[in-house]
């Protein structure tokens, strides 16, 4: 088993984003795989989203999400009441431990031995597979991409396309090695192998687990989108269905999902819609012949309420997890998802992870951006990602003890008294004309003392050397010259 390649627990590697990035940048295969994939996703999105349709829709999507968040507690209660009336059992969890305990409780009561999972990023947050396996319960991913990376003991590197970093050759080797299949790089054959293996598992599973794309308060409905059919299998074949989701996923009315659905599938995959839109409003009724006997919904906080406390950061929770910000991010495209070391990579990962794991455990995430603005521009629900990145950078260099209205876990983890006094000096310099003049005089006259090496900059560039005279001096001279000319 390829244990070395497994992404270690979140807390460990997320602190080493820089080191991870360095390693990723030197992986030519990864860079080719990522570049090709992202280019194609970008082109597909563009092809199905003409601007005239897109912008009013983004505006509406943003309003729908903002309205839902502006009455979140009330909507969660309404959702719970409707679902309960429909026969669904609703559970609340503040932490991933609590959420896993809920799942394990159900599994024990049902004497479950095997769990089959549809794609769910929240279950990745929970590390549910590990929690179940620790209890001797098999927990198998059924989304093709998730299945592939689970075989390789990896974590998803993209929230929509978990195995995007692998090519067919790598998958072929994996199937040959783990499933004893004859080696083939033919994608159709590889998918048929996955289908065959997993069909058996759907039959035998005691519990099906899924995520939720939208939870509709008005009707008590869980809406799931997918292309493969594994989500429908997982939520229909086993006798128990457990859906896990974040507390922010609720929308007020059924019609609210119309714009969001359209934005989601087009932003994510460039598809007008996914193959399946699966709306679940309850367990099997007495007269029905399939569907689960029990349906559970686990509502997980896991730090989301921290983002909720601050009006600016709250917008992070608008996210509908389309992945477009990642696809368009120059940093993500170059370093891939694994380097982030968090469940959510890319721009959305950089703004949500600090709430999930604490800023001290994702100190460099807000800085892993060139602030080019692409993420904010493509985000279908108009999250001002660059502004939030800047805000988090600021929060992370505040003195840790500084009082703030809505403290963030781990804030100030990059605070450095030395750096802070340096910036204070900088401020003094730039606010006092006398000091500034003296400083620029010294800098221009001592220009030859500029060091020849300045970290990574000078690997590819000439060292920056101040000009022999400052712009001020030149301007003044110019003015004097003009005046003399005028006097003459």
């Amino acid at each position: 088993m390829n244990q070395a390649a497994r992404i270690p627990a979140v807390e460990l590697s997320s602190r080493q984003l820089k080191a991870n990035a360095h390693e990723a940048l030197n992986d030519a295969q990864l860079r080719t795989n990522m570049r090709t994939a992202m280019d194609s996703l970008i082109a597909k999105r563009l092809a199905v989203m003409p601007e005239a349709e897109r912008e009013p829709l983004r505006e509406l999507g943003n309003h729908v999400r903002a309205r839902a968040l502006s009455k979140l507690p009330e909507l969660l209660e309404r959702l719970e009441a409707r679902l309960t009336a429909n026969g669904v059992q609703v559970h609340w969890a503040e932490t991933v431990e609590e959420a896993n305990a809920v799942v394990l409780d159900i599994a024990r009561r049902r004497r479950a031995r095997a769990v089959i999972k549809g794609k769910s990023m929240v279950s990745e947050e929970m590390e549910m597979n590990e929690a179940l396996e620790a209890e001797g319960i098999e927990s198998l991913e059924s989304d093709m991409g998730e299945y592939i990376i689970q075989l390789d003991h990896e974590k998803p590197t993209h929230i929509i396309m978990p195995a995007i970093h692998k090519n067919a050759r790598q998958v072929a080797k994996l199937f040959e090695q783990h499933l004893g299949e004859p080696y083939t790089e033919d994608v159709d054959e590889l998918i048929q192998t996955g289908r065959r293996v997993l069909r058996k598992k759907f039959l035998d599973a005691d519990i099906g687990v899924s995520g939720v794309n939208f939870a509709i308060a008005e009707t008590g409905t869980l809406l799931l989108v997918e292309n493969e059919g594994n989500g429908r299998m997982s939520t229909t074949v086993p006798p128990v269905h457990i859906a896990v989701t974040g507390i922010e996923k609720v929308v007020e009315n059924l019609r609210d999902v119309v714009p969001l659905l359209s934005l989601l599938t087009r932003s994510a995959l460039g598809q007008p819609i996914t193959t399946y839109v699966n709306m679940i409003s309850g367990p099997r009724k007495a007269e029905e012949r399939d569907g689960p006997e029990e349906v559970h919904l686990v509502l997980l906080d896991n730090g989301r309420s921290q983002a909720f406390m601050d009006a600016e950061l709250r917008q992070t929770l608008n996210c509908i997890r389309c992945g477009a910000c990642m696809n368009h991010c120059p940093v993500y495209t170059r370093i891939g998802g694994r380097a982030y070391g968090t469940v959510y990579p890319g721009p959305i990962g950089a703004i949500i992870s600090p709430h999930l794991v604490g800023l001290e455990n994702a100190p460099d995430h807000p800085s892993a951006s060139s602030l080019c603005g692409a993420c904010g521009e493509v985000c279908p629900v108009k999250i001002p990602i660059p502004d939030i990145l800047r805000r988090l950078r600021e929060e992370n260099v505040k003195p840790p003890a500084a009082a703030s209205a809505h403290p963030l876990r781990g804030q100030g983890s990059k605070y450095s008294p030395g750096e802070r006094s340096l910036w204070r000096m900088w401020v003094r310099l730039y606010t006092s004309p006398r000091l500034y003049r003296a400083f620029s005089f010294a800098l221009t006259r001592l220009r030859r003392l500029t060091p020849a090496r300045l970290g990574p900059w000078t690997l590819n560039h000439a060292p920056p050397r101040p000009a022999s005279r400052s712009l001020h001096e030149l301007a003044r001279e110019h003015l004097d010259h003009d005046r003399r000319g005028a006097d003459r």
Partner: protein, 224 residues
């Protein structure tokens, strides 16, 4: 305090002093770009979008559809069809094959899944279901599985044949939800199906027949 109470209390304190946003939902944004002048245009759009993702269309009539269904089964060498024989369309098909020398055997999903799980998974080559309608804007069939046509009928067999009456095609999802009053009562499971099952999880190469049907045929009754 329970987790529920703690979460709700925290969220409420985060909202202290703010007022809920008004509902300014503008239906035109999700309807106007997706309007089609007439039935022909709706059919055209539906066929175009669904064909682009490898859905096959049999354009036929109320009189002819049983023959078409038998033809397409025969072309694939399929001799068993899962169909709700208790519903009108199932009875119609059963009547049609009566007396034919060579015809597929029809059988219904008349037991709970537990009673025949492995048979359903391993030895049902094709199913035929009705649809509630379709959506031109996105190229989607609408299915509300029922006791006669349970959820797995449209998912497990490798070939899914869907009967669609052309008059049931609407412009867009918003229109469907509003005109049919979905918000007033959702079934346990409502589905939009927009093609055969597919995946692009390996190198973004599109492969059909991931976990659900590898083939979807829409039998479109143009005079219904």
């Amino acid at each position: 305090m329970s987790a529920r109470e703690r979460i709700l209390a925290k969220l409420r304190s985060g909202l202290a002093g703010s007022i809920p946003r008004p509902d300014d939902f503008e239906p035109a944004v999700v309807t106007e770009p997706w309007r089609y002048p007439d039935r022909a245009a709706r059919i055209e759009r539906l066929v175009e979008l669904m064909s682009a993702v490898q859905t096959r269309f049999e354009r036929t009539t109320r009189a002819d559809w049983p023959t078409r269904v038998l033809d397409l089964l025969e072309a694939r060498g399929i001799d068993r069809l899962l169909v709700a024989t208790g519903m009108a369309h199932g009875a119609r098909l059963a009547a049609h094959i009566e007396g034919l020398a060579k015809a597929p055997s029809l059988f219904a999903y008349d037991r709970p899944i537990e009673a025949w799980k492995s048979e359903l998974f391993d030895s049902v080559p094709a199913s035929l279901t009705t649809t509630r309608g379709a959506i031109a804007a996105t190229g989607s069939l609408i299915l509300w599985p029922s006791a006669d046509e349970p959820r797995l009928m449209s998912l497990v067999p490798p070939l899914h044949i869907a009967l669609l009456e052309a008059s049931r095609i609407q412009d867009n999802l918003h229109e469907v939800i509003e005109t049919e009053g979905w918000a007033a009562g959702m079934p346990t499971n409502a589905l939009l199906i927009s093609g055969p099952s597919k995946t692009a999880d390996i190198e973004q190469v599109l492969a059909y027949g991931a976990h659900g049907p590898a083939e979807l045929v829409v039998v479109l009754l143009e005079d219904a």
